[in-house]
């Protein structure tokens, strides 16, 4: 599978600030990929380089095989970017913005697709409203629509759900998922890690301009041996065979270590044998947020 996005030794300096310190990354065509990291890690800078808004200080970046500097026009044709900042042009209406944006990409009769975007993003009522009269979340949706006017093979979303209400977040993700199923490559940044966990096949974690973790989402989740079994029992004493698993105890409430789900069966059997009833039970798995915090901590 050819790479939709390919970064090699990518560095970016803004004056004295070294925003990217050598990034190597391949994102395959059709992937749903998350770029995570704390504020200032360099996520937006990676996107700016891809979009041609910032130029690499060293190394290279390609989109669908086109170099972002040398083949800048092909790169931009293949890329749709939802910027992090809520920008809009107060002079124009929603439909005008989408028509202009289509025109910049050489598309002159794009109304059917524009109408579909407006419908999917819940902007039909606002089609003829001036952009300055939109609420923050609506401006964000317009940015998404603008990024998609030319149906780009690679879609980059820089915190697209910041300030967007629950309902729209759901429908936005359903839409992006559909585009992904239809073959679009998706690169996403977000601080809502449960979004990334639910949506993305692979994740890169960035810190201080470096990639500090890069793996499939499920591998990352497995990598932290953090599966735990929380129990409330009819007794405050456990059979000997289970004592070694206790992570913490509070009266008749226990937290047990559970490296493998398969061991659950055996634990319950041992409790039954000792005539101990289970009153409450819950399983906890490390989520991406915990993994993220661990990775960041380790990265110093």
């Amino acid at each position: 599978m050819p790479s939709a996005i390919r970064l090699r030794g990518l560095e970016k300096r803004y004056g004295l600030v070294q925003a990217l310190r050598g990034i190597d990354l391949d994102i395959a065509e059709g992937e749903f990929f998350a770029l995570l990291g704390p504020n200032g890690a360099g996520k937006t800078t990676v996107i700016s380089v891809l979009a041609g808004l910032a130029r690499p200080s060293a190394g290279s970046a390609e989109v669908m095989g086109f170099d972002v500097v040398r083949d800048y026009r092909e790169t931009r044709r293949n890329l749709g970017v939802v910027p992090q900042e809520l920008v809009y042009d107060a002079f124009f209406t929603v439909r005008e913005m989408l028509t202009f944006q289509s025109g910049y990409f050489g598309l002159r009769h794009n109304d059917a697709w524009i109408d579909e975007l407006l419908a999917t993003l819940g902007l039909v009522d606002k089609a003829n409203a001036y952009t300055r009269t939109l609420s923050g979340g609506m401006k964000r949706r317009l940015l998404v629509a603008q990024a998609l006017v030319h149906k780009p093979p690679v879609i980059v979303l820089d915190e697209p759900t910041a300030g967007v209400d629950v309902e729209l977040r759901q429908s936005l993700w359903a839409f992006i998922r559909r585009l992904n199923r239809e073959g679009h490559t998706i690169l996403l940044t977000t601080h809502y890690l449960e979004e990334a966990e639910a949506l993305c096949q692979r994740v890169a974690m960035l810190k201080d301009g470096r990639i500090v973790a890069l793996d499939r989402t499920d591998n990352l989740l497995r990598s932290e041996e953090e599966r735990r079994l929380e129990l409330a029992l009819s007794s405050d004493d456990l059979p000997d065979s289970l004592r070694g698993r206790v992570l913490s105890q509070n009266g008749r409430r226990f937290v047990l270590n559970l490296p493998e789900y398969g061991e659950l069966e055996a634990i319950l059997a041992q409790l039954r044998q000792a005539d101990i009833r289970v009153e409450e039970m819950s399983l906890r798995q490390a989520d991406l947020e915990e993994v993220f915090l661990k990775v960041m901590e380790r990265a110093g």
Binding site: S48, L53, P83, V87, F100, Y104
Partner: protein, 251 residues
């Protein structure tokens, strides 16, 4: 080229939507100049034989409005887009640097010419004008608005705030315009200032333009063309190079 056409169209719509401040206000301004200067001075001054002062004043006034507005169009559009951040909408698409340049430049020329026409129409209420050499009128109108449209691109890219643009307008364009013979023939200046005026490109823009109307001018229109054409090309070249370099547009 359709990306270019869209950007040009958008830039024209942008000023057309606020016609009141972008076209009517400068035309009203020129009308006030005409009212006052022609009333006060027409009895006393005749610069060229057979040409009334008001008729003499007209081309200069048109040219002044035209080049100020060409400058204002590209510079204010760019700085507004930069400051609001919506410049990304034209930086993300696959527009070539030349398309980007040409769209901003042409829109500025259109604004300059539209305002110039407005001033001309208002002027015709005050005085009869001849159009001795329409071709020269057109050439100087286009070259001057191109030069100042391009200067507007340069200033709009360079400026970080409106204050910087106002600086260019008040400390460069206004003085150069007033010292260029809008309101008088430079032959009526002391010889030192006459000499200085000959280094002012706006003088040649106005003088060549005036020749197009009255068939008389301070210097040969070919000399004016020989100055104005390279100045316009140079400004355009600088603007294009600046866009190519990505200066203040792409980090």
């Amino acid at each position: 080229m359709s990306g270019f056409r869209t950007l040009l169209y958008k830039e024209i719509i942008r000023f057309w939507k606020v016609l009141m401040q972008t076209v009517l206000a400068p035309v009203l301004n020129a009308w006030l100049y005409l009212l006052i200067f022609s009333h006060v001075l027409s009895a006393h001054i005749q610069v060229y034989p057979g040409v009334s002062y008001t008729a003499f004043l007209m081309p200069g006034l048109i040219m002044m409005s035209l080049l100020q507005n060409a400058f204002a169009n590209s510079s204010s559009s760019l700085i507004q887009s930069k400051m609001s951040g919506n410049i990304v909408f034209v930086l993300l698409p696959p527009l070539s640097n030349f398309e980007f340049f040409a769209a901003y430049l042409l829109a500025a020329i259109v604004r300059g010419v539209v305002v110039g026409l407005g001033v001309l129409l208002v002027g015709l209420l005050f005085t009869d004008l001849q159009f001795a050499h329409p071709f020269w009128i057109l050439v100087f109108a286009l070259l001057a608005s191109a030069a100042f449209g391009a200067l507007g691109i340069v200033a709009g890219i360079w400026a970080d705030k409106y204050d910087h643009l106002a600086g260019v307008q008040n400390f460069a364009i206004m003085p150069l315009t007033f010292l260029s013979g809008v309101f008088y023939s430079i032959h009526s200046l002391p010889s030192f200032w006459q000499g200085v005026s000959h280094y002012n490109p706006i003088f040649y823009m106005i003088d060549g333009f005036r020749y197009g109307f009255h068939g008389v001018s301070d210097v040969d229109p070919m000399l004016s063309l020989a100055v104005v054409l390279p100045v316009s090309l140079l400004m355009a070249w600088i603007a294009l190079q600046l866009i190519r370099s990505g200066y203040k547009l792409r980090d």
